[in-house]
Symmetry: C2
Subunit: 420 residues, 2 copies
């Protein structure tokens, strides 16, 4: 969408909306040296998730990420690696408010050489460490800001808030129902929040934290408060990183693509496995022999599917797996996360006392270590297809292994051949 400064249409889509993400924090509370916005979850820095959440929304025309001077280079490489568009990196100040102000100045002082950096009607301010923000709440705060000048997401208080006296004793406790936690995103008519920052004191810039407060104090704008969901929480402590990791692993495990050729003996296993997985996860089936120009697979890559199952009746054959690896590599989609690739080896031999050769196991491990360098986690599953009576049981076992491997995404287990 082109910015259309000044329009007041019915939805956020009709307004020029930009976003400023302060990402200058020092991460002290995590107890580690890495500021929390640069901590990685599934190998990807949190700030990239948050930028991604904003980018997905077509009516946000531009995203300013404000980082401290020492992290500008790091942020540049993140933007490049994850293919972020519509992002400008801005040098932060020594406090959160000074950083946000720097971000806003880019729009106010832009000489219009860059069309995208034209002053927006509404600006969203959102923390880089709140990666799970959804379009719904962004739309709500933007609409409310258009109508009322300022708006912010709120949540119920989890704990009672108390005032302490100077001597470290309880002075009084607040009645919990009357107060709310002020969260992000917030949104403002650009002219209001920029005016507030221009008017405010050095004390405000150095010790304040709340943009809503500045809009009220300097522009007499009482922000509209919008109830947000629990997803808006701020990654603050180490435990929040654990939680983010689990949520993201869960999100990555929503969909699997099954690739198979359609020989008759494979078809039944394919069908049953598909059915078994379908009850617990979205399954995309690609029933073709892989070829380099396969548009269907390319669509699936672009659709952010990070889990692939290759079913092959060529025992331990790495050829088809290699083809998929090549396609992933040649696809223009940046790999935001490690891809899980599970090679299911169908053993249809009648020989009941078969065995697995160590050389083959070693070969699979070696191959897995190679493709790991391409951010692909390769695992093998051996599927013995002999006894028709046990077929459903084996299918269920294979499905459980596939789901476990997808959920865990464990890099230490690559190259292992598991038995269904």
């Amino acid at each position: 969408m082109e910015p259309s400064c000044g329009s007041r249409g019915p939805g956020p889509a009709a307004a020029a909306v930009a976003a400023v993400l302060p990402a200058g924090g020092s991460g002290e509370r995590l107890g580690g040296a890495t500021p929390k916005q640069f901590c990685t979850v599934q190998g990807r820095p949190l700030v990239s998730y948050t930028v991604g959440a904003m980018e997905r929304i077509s009516w946000i025309s531009h995203i300013i990420v404000v980082v401290s001077p020492e992290n500008i280079e790091k942020m540049n490489s993140i933007v490049e690696k994850y293919g972020h568009k519509r992002v400008t990196i801005v040098r932060g100040g020594v406090t959160r408010h000074r950083s946000i102000f720097n971000g806003l100045k880019v729009f106010a002082e832009n000489n219009f050489s860059n069309q995208l950096l034209q002053k927006p009607e509404v600006v969203i301010i959102h923390d880089a460490v709140r990666p799970f923000v959804e379009e719904d709440i962004l739309s709500k705060v933007v609409m409310a800001a258009k109508d009322h000048g300022a708006a912010g997401a709120i949540r119920p208080l989890v704990s009672t808030v108390i005032a302490s006296a100077a001597d470290g004793f309880l002075d009084h406790s607040l009645e919990r129902a009357r107060y709310r936690a002020s969260e992000m995103p917030q949104a403002f008519l650009f002219d209001i929040i920029y005016e507030a920052y221009q008017q405010c004191t050095d004390y405000d810039l150095d010790y304040g934290t709340e943009c809503l407060h500045l809009a009220l104090k300097y522009c007499k704008t009482n922000a509209k408060l919008v109830e947000g969901t629990a997803d808006l929480w701020k990654v603050t402590y180490k435990r929040d990183l654990y939680a983010a990791e689990s949520i993201i692993k869960g999100n990555l495990s929503q969909q699997v693509c099954i690739i198979t050729n359609v020989k008759e003996d494979v078809a039944q296993v394919n069908f049953l496995l598909h059915e078994s997985l379908k009850s617990r996860i979205k399954v995309e089936a690609v029933s073709v022999t892989l070829s380099k120009n396969d548009g269907q697979l390319q669509d699936i890559f672009s659709g952010q599917c990070y889990n692939f199952v290759c079913i092959s009746d060529k025992k331990y054959a790495v050829e088809e797996t290699q083809k998929l690896v090549d396609m992933l590599e040649k696809s223009n989609t940046p790999l935001l996360y490690p891809v899980v690739l599970i090679s299911v080896h169908l053993d249809v031999s009648e020989n009941t006392s078969c065995s697995i050769g160590m050389e083959e196991l070693t070969r699979i491990k070696k191959f897995a270590r190679e493709v790991k360098k391409k951010n692909i986690l390769l695992y093998g599953i051996l599927f013995q297809y002999k006894d028709c009576l046990l077929l459903q049981e084996t299918v269920n076992s294979a499905a459980a292994l596939i789901l476990a491997l997808i959920m865990d995404r464990n890099p230490e287990l690559i190259g292992q051949l598991l038995v269904a």
Copy 2:
């Protein structure tokens, strides 16, 4: 320690201290049917972790768990299953304050037939959904309560707190530095908090949340505020369960016990594996042939080690593993969590083109499914010991697999034979 009501010694150890854990909440915020105190982490309900954290502290003479009437039976079975001692289950009221009051009444109205339920000097009040409470903070609030009548743990506010006007607009925001989040544990002189509950109004009992507030309002006792650590957080949302799961898995992965016989060919692998693991985890080595009366192993069980590695040069032999399973079963220690048991099969044959028979793999899987019923997660690692040049590499690979299996505790991967 025997309760010594009325003593005012130098530390909590000299006071009679009891604890009341309100566990009557409905868990609405988790969005699930199970109240959060009964949600399981590694199969064990959160409330059992919290009771366990209290039980470990010798100077807490008794623990009252207050649950809603429909959960009394469930709580009884938890106490039995996890072998909790010094616990009395009390029927809760319809609100948090009414539940706490019910808990306190047990001490006040006790006719002294039960010595342990004698009125304590100090009572701790702690949430059942804050499982990571440490002795340090409990000791601090108890000491402060002895000195000042009331005390409570506090934390800095994560978000700014705002007051909303009736129309849903911002009224004002609080200056973050002047306020704190009131957390748990809290502690009180029993007579003060009991007096407060007796004096307070129905409105307080129905709509209040803060015990510190009651002590101030009805007994003019300004609580001493004690800065707590981030561990004190309350499991409130689903993401908090994810975080708790990661923390507990991390705690369970601190220690591994390696069991081996000391044949010469095994000794070198044992030594190198020990060294490789030691740099990342506490290793207890038991270099004996297992026997049923082995006191050393019994001590390790009691010491809450939940990870065992059996190194054997009998390829795929389940006998030694079976012995350990039997010992775990016969030990009187209740299994609080699933035990991870990794059977490392040393293959010292000179044959370079060896293979693994499918029958053996099937046998290991079947055995693993059997011991799973005993809450033991069994995994196999095949360790090929042929080429001296590659020995260190294989050792490192085995150590990485062992750590991954211990960290993940994945029940879907039991019975698999991984190759180091």
